[in-house]
Amino acid sequence: MKQQIIVSGIGGQGVLFLTRVIAQAAVNRGIAVLTSETHGMAQRGGTVLSTIKVGDFSSPLIRTGQADAGLLLWEENLPVHKPLLKENGPLLVNTAASGPGERIDASGIARNLGNAVLANLVLLGLAIRQESLFCTAEECETAIKQLAPPKFVDQNLKAFHEGLNGN
């Protein structure tokens, strides 16, 4: 099993947490995983990109046109990061507007849950509902429980389920 995934957003949207949840799901299944993340200056509200490579890989980076799936938390990043995606690779976008890819107003849903930053897990829920990722809903739940601070676990799972079950 091999899968290359990109997670795109801007600093402060929880791209790193979402990356870790997906990678942890691979670790828990005993598959090799590599990620790369954006740290430093760009985290101050600038465009950030994580890559996740599940399976037998050596490098954490993804070539243009090689990503199997893309999760975009910031729609304006489409022209920047869409070229990384394979032509038919599923694209999940957090937005209230219409356009390419599977779309969900993850920020709006998260806001109703009380915190816009939960959009990251709403989008993950959609990706699982669409069967775009290697992992199952249960595997994501386990990873969320492992990685979220204890007092936020319920809220995080709720956000994930909002995306997973749709409405």
Binding site: I10, G11, E37, R44, G45, R63, T64, E76, V80
Partner: protein, 607 residues
């Protein structure tokens, strides 16, 4: 202990490796991409089998010297920094090559090809060539961790300081990594006095230099550090690929995808300096064409001096920037005569970074720009570099440079007569790091400049490491607080004021007083401390009132709050030509309110 697999960032893997290898003294100054190494040691310190001193030092030179002396006592130590930090530590680093160490000592220097978050993309490996210090170039987080114990052993065998050089893509990659039990070395501090070595005068240096050269020849032949060959099947005779660091990993994946994995001889160079001369000979004898892939400067290429080398020196491979898998694909296709990859789409720039909503620096920069529209604004390294977006930062150079640059601007203008108002901005951590000698110099050279110390009570850019005036050291340990004000006064500054930049009228009043002071007969350096905690600190956010900020219909669409103030929580509704508040991002500080010329931004208490 049962072996455990954990998903670790490269920096965490290195930190874990240091604890496992029995490192007892760890010192660092934060800097992207190296910061999380010391943080990982802090987070994992209870695993250590023996006492472990961890410090965020005031700067990299100090971190290096602390670790160095600890090694003289026979213990294992590490100094951690980013690539430009090594410039700060260059003086002790260079001499250490001659004098050597006792207990294993590693200097971990994280490079930033690209650069992603640095003022240059210098190559520490080339620095090591000039310093004559062996350097390791890992290709993955797991390999970086595995190199730590080996490096300590060799450091002790040869009594040399060794460098481990991860790059951003190692530091900030995650991988499943195996954990091992920390070693117990049972060493007590024992400094054996030897003035001919530890205080070597010029008379003793030729001997020490000879020993260094002899050691370099030996370590170059260490079996575990030899270039690793993955042999090809003979279908590409007399052709070799040579790569080091993360570029090797990119190359392996690419060869896999292209079905070339076991067709071409591929060498991974683990220690790019010093290279074993036998490796050079082997390449010269057995290969006609050699593609050399490395970041960032052509260090291996320089040493190999192979007549059939293809690399950065002949211009085949870009000499600047990161060697991404896309670039390597193109280079490899050209080298092997494969079909060229599809042309890359033109790169799009993403969203630029900004000071956070509510950042006190934004308020300070806006006031500085308002008070002195024609001023000159030298600034420095940190979040506040982003004052660029407000037009309130004109120069950014290296840690602490802004105060001396401000003084230099003054001297150059003043000798012609009139001088503009020069407002220097420097963060609190940067001030302690390298600002104090510069301030003393500006005072004794009678520079008439305003120095604004942006005191947000933390090292914000790198994630909030402690600063000396807060009375907290690494791992939340309480310590003596060294206040900024007495330091400034002791540096001979007679004008010193402190003000919260959230209070715009008061802050601008202080700036104007400072300007009057520097232009007065007895004037000199004026210091204004801009004091407000970093908004990333949850405690700071909790302690300040969070208003509901909205925009009224009388907004005239002048864009001042969006462009001149540049708060990321504000944007324009271009159809209606009015400004909008993004309530997800707004933290309700209200600092944008006085910016509006028609009082259209209002705040109300949240119920």
């Amino acid at each position: 202990m049962k072996q455990k697999i954990e998903l670790l960032m490269g920096n965490e893997a290195i930190g874990q490796g240091l604890i496992e290898a029995g490192c007892q003294i760890a010192a660092a100054y934060p800097g992207t991409p190296s910061t999380e190494i010391l943080q990982a040691i802090i987070d994992r310190r209870t695993q250590a089998a023996e006492p472990l001193h961890i410090e965020w030092s005031v700067n990299e030179k100090i971190a290096f010297e602390v670790a160095l002396a600890a090694s003289y006592t026979g213990k294992r130590s590490v100094a951690v920094m980013k690539q430009v930090g090594l410039n700060v530590a260059a003086d002790p680093f260079m001499r250490t090559a001659y004098l050597g160490v006792k207990g294993g000592m590693l200097t971990i220097v994280a490079d930033d090809p690209g650069p992603h978050s640095s003022q240059n993309e210098q190559d520490t490996r080339l620095f090591c060539l000039q310093a004559r210090v062996p350097v390791f170039d890992p290709a993955s987080p797991a390999e970086a961790k595995d190199l730590v114990p080996l490096a300590f052993e060799l450091s002790e065998k040869y009594e040399m300081n060794l460098v481990l050089r991860p790059t951003t893509r190692i530091c900030h990659s995650r991988q499943n990594v195996e954990l091992n039990a920390p070693q117990k070395l049972e060493r007590n501090a024992n400094f054996e006095k030897d003035p001919t070595r530890w205080a070597a005068t010029p008379a003793f240096l030729p001997q020490l230099h000879r020993k260094l050269n002899a050691n370099l020849e030996k370590i170059a032949r260490e079996p575990e550090l030899q270039p690793k060959l993955s042999p090809g099947d003979g279908s590409h005779p007399h052709t070799a690929l040579v790569a080091s660091g993360i570029v090797y990993a990119h190359l392996v994946d690419l060869l896999d995808e292209l079905g070339l994995r076991d067709q071409i001889d591929l060498f991974q160079v683990l220690m790019p300096y010093p290279l074993n001369p036998d490796f050079s000979k082997c390449l010269q004898q057995d290969y006609q064409r050699v593609l050399i892939l490395e970041e960032t400067y052509p260090l291996i290429e320089l040493q190999l001096a192979h007549p059939g080398a293809v690399g950065k020196q002949d211009g085949t491979i870009p000499r600047e920037g990161e060697l991404t898998p896309d670039i390597i694909h193109q280079v490899l296709a050209d080298f092997l005569g494969l079909p060229s990859p599809q042309e890359l789409p033109p790169p799009h720039r993403g969203q630029r970074p900004s000071l956070c909503p509510g950042c006190p620096h934004r308020a300070a920069f806006y006031s500085i720009k308002q008070c002195f529209p024609k001023g000159i604004f030298p600034s420095d390294i940190g979040c506040y570099t982003l004052g660029l977006n407000l037009g309130a930062v004109n120069t950014v150079h290296c840690m602490g440079a802004c105060i001396s640059q401000g003084a230099g601007f003054y001297q150059s203008y003043a000798q012609d007569g009139e001088f503009p108002t020069i407002v220097v901005t420097i963060g609190d951590s940067t001030f302690f790091h390298a600002g104090i000698p510069a301030l003393i110099n500006a005072v004794i050279q009678q520079a008439r400049i305003i120095v604004v110390i942006l005191d947000n009570a933390t090292t914000a850019m790198t994630g909030g490491q402690p600063v000396p005036h807060m009375g907290v050291a690494a791992a939340e340990k309480a310590t003596r607080a060294i206040a900024i004000e007495p330091l400034v006064k002791a540096s001979g500054v007679d004008f010193l004021e402190t003000c919260d930049p959230y209070d715009k009228p008061a802050f601008e009043q202080r700036l104007k007083e400072a300007d009057a002071y520097i232009r007065s007969e007895q004037g000199g350096v004026a210091v204004l401390i801009s004091r407000h905690g970093c908004i990333m600190d949850p405690h700071v956010r909790k302690m300040q009132v969070r208003f509901k900020v909205t925009i009224e219909d009388n907004c005239v669409g002048c864009r001042k709050c969006v462009e001149a103030f540049e708060c990321p929580a504000l944007s324009m509704d271009n159809e209606k030509n009015i400004a909008l508040v993004n309530q997800d991002r707004c933290i309700g500080c209200g600092t944008c309110i006085p910016v509006c010329p028609v009082d259209a931004i209002i705040k109300e208490e949240r119920s």
